[in-house]
Symmetry: C2
Subunit: 410 residues, 2 copies
């Protein structure tokens, strides 16, 4: 089998640095640490990137994908808007604020980015079925990408997810299996299935394809820097579920510096959690280096991972960069969804309520500098979590079609 | 008041050609015909356009907007994917098929395009409130755009719309008024309101701002041609509600030819309606030039306009270009939504089920050439019309987290 992962040359352990050949492996045989893609980057210029397509493939020379990736059937996510959020900034007292709005992706969450990379890995390894454990958004991203790529799909979710996420994961075809239990139980089940003959030739995007998949999140860092005019933001607020996205955005910023594509300016990374699933912010506030698993209970179901694999790395990055990890209540999440919608016309899912709510709290508690340029991530779409705003989701008034009836409402 | 509408120099009557100055006018004082924007275009090259932003403002020199439009707070819609639909094409027997997927717009329908232009008109005329009559998508596009632009919003919908569309139209703030009646009654009510002091300084995007608003649909034609490598498609299938979008896509193609941006190659335009609201396809099949109003009864609520203002123009364009107007049943709409999703990973709202269903029917009845390059429009998002696919929107199976339980499902 001849593999083509573009600039990626192997896998390396994030803990002990042991090297492995490119393959469907995800844990170090020496120390059980997570494996990640290792590269040998060629020279890459801003102009090369700017000449690329308006999607993540403009960064193909920095990702584990073949050079001709854009010619294959794929969802082509990315290059989502970086919205100058002047109205929200004024409300919060933040001088220069941007919302990176990843609800603009094909299935309306940032998961399209990571799945697009995983599809190329599945093709490389000759897998016929695309799979995952999911809190909802990933399931839809995987089944959609499998449909377009001509792969089978079988995805696993906690049975109690939002109706819209279930419907979306199902409409693209393939099998959708509800598991009686939390996301962490779904995840453990998938790890078992990988070792079973039933799971042979299956690419679990966030398990055995994770070293490739996870690299997709770097494109958020690349896009933010390019959209700011090739510089790093001073502060960025990122949601924390497994913690992978936050660590990869940090990695992406560092790569841009190392490649000479941006200046080496300091940035602070802030993690955002829902109080009802806040193992990382809990550890941050307690001054711990390890994360104690919790049983999630929050409306922010897409962030409801009680045992986050990359929790310790998030703690390290937040402390090293001078950021923080903070959490908000479900009521604060709902208020933040409404605040973002009514100031910027961006309708976020609960995860976006978490980041905007945490941003507000960070400003109010003096943990974030309101005079420094700040980016806040919205990673999903409000149409998928309508229950969160069910109160007040009816018309202001219902009237007969007459001027008198309307006058009476004013 | 100094107006800046870029290349637009006035309004002209589509029927009698009478000219009017730029203003919030929409009907000819001579013959009551609809007014549309008239331009004096300067020289525009492909390179100028390609150097622009990845949204509709790359075409600002062909739209009634100021040159600096991209610097103002606006939703910046457009440059949505033209998906090469190889899987769907094989299923339908269409050799070269593309889906123009406008669900990728900020509020996930093509309405963001038209509203973005109307916002600039509202600014020009000093209006403080943005309004509309809407079948759902427009209401969300207007309230979102008003939030970002810092305008008030008051929008009017039939009270019986889909829950997701109501929730979305409300979350951005402003007033959302449900009218007891059909869209056509909502529309008549808005026309009354414009003449009343209550509606003073209000911009009804699809009434008194319609000559500007409607021009936004031209950008669909521009994008399709540019994304095909600066040429016109041979066949295009477009949904018909009021008919405005179809007429403006035709206008956009003609402008590109006149400006020398594409070759003058023939194209056929097909209109698509739901059988439950098919006044235009009914007239087409009966060989009539005028359209008899109907009372809509279809799941395709975004197309449920029983008295379509541009119906006669649609008939003329379909006949002149060698296209057709066809309709499909609600069951065919649902089947087409599933077909598009499972082949291309694109989750369309009911209007997208109408265009894909009509495409299928046109092929089967020999009205469309399966060997000619074809574009089909998806103008909205499946997450807004979840009821249409409620059957089969549950997991394939719900199981305990064990391999044995999973084995039993296989």
């Amino acid at each position: 089998m001849s593999l083509d992962f573009g600039p990626a040359t192997g896998l390396s352990c994030r803990e002990c640095g042991a090297r492995y050949p490119l393959g469907p492996s995800f844990a170090c045989l020496e120390c059980f640490g997570p494996l990640e893609a290792a590269y040998s980057f060629g020279a890459v210029s801003r102009a090369d990137i700017e000449a690329g397509p308006a999607n993540i493939w403009r960064y193909r020379s920095l990702l584990p994908v073949p050079e001709d990736v854009a010619d294959k059937p794929n969802m082509n996510p990315g290059w989502t808007p970086l919205v100058k959020a002047g109205n929200l900034g004024r409300k919060l007292g933040v001088k220069s604020l941007y919302v990176k709005d990843d609800s603009a992706n094909p299935t309306h969450s940032f998961k399209d980015r990571v799945v697009a990379i995983a599809v190329e890995a599945a093709r490389n390894f000759g897998f016929h079925t695309l799979s995952c454990s999911s809190t909802g958004n990933l399931a839809g991203a995987v089944t959609a990408a499998a449909a377009r790529a001509g792969l089978d799909a079988c995805v696993f979710i906690p049975a109690g997810l939002e109706a819209a996420k279930i419907a979306m994961a199902r409409v693209f075809g393939g099998r959708l299996i509800g598991i009686e239990g939390s996301y962490d139980e779904v995840n453990r089940f998938c790890s078992e299935l990988i070792g079973d003959p039933m799971g042979d030739k299956w690419g679990f995007v966030n398990v055995n394809l994770r070293p490739y998949y996870a690299e997709g999140s770097k494109t958020l860092a690349y896009e933010i820097a390019e959209q700011l005019g090739w510089r790093l933001p001073e502060q960025i607020v990122i949601p924390v579920a497994s913690g992978s996205q936050l660590t990869k955005i940090d990695k992406g910023f560092k790569e841009l510096v190392a490649l000479g594509l941006v200046e080496d300016t300091p940035y602070k990374i802030y993690g955002a959690q829902a109080l009802g699933c806040s193992p990382v912010s809990g550890a941050y506030k307690a001054g711990h280096d390890v994360v104690q698993p919790v049983r999630p209970d929050t409306i922010a179901k897409s962030l409801a991972i009680g045992n986050p694999a990359d929790g310790p790395y998030v703690l390290d990055i937040a402390r090293r960069t001078g950021g923080a990890v903070e959490d908000v209540t479900d009521a604060e999440i709902v208020a933040a969804i409404r605040l973002l919608a009514s100031t910027e016309g961006v309708f976020a899912e609960t995860a976006g309520g978490v980041t905007v709510g945490v941003l507000k709290k960070l400003v109010e508690t003096g943990q974030l500098d309101p005079d420094a340029e700040t980016v806040v991530l919205n990673t999903g779409d409000g149409l998928k979590t309508l229950d969160a705003i069910a109160d007040g989701a009816a018309p202001t008034a219902v009237i007969r079609p007459s001027l008198d009836a309307f006058r009476a409402t004013v």
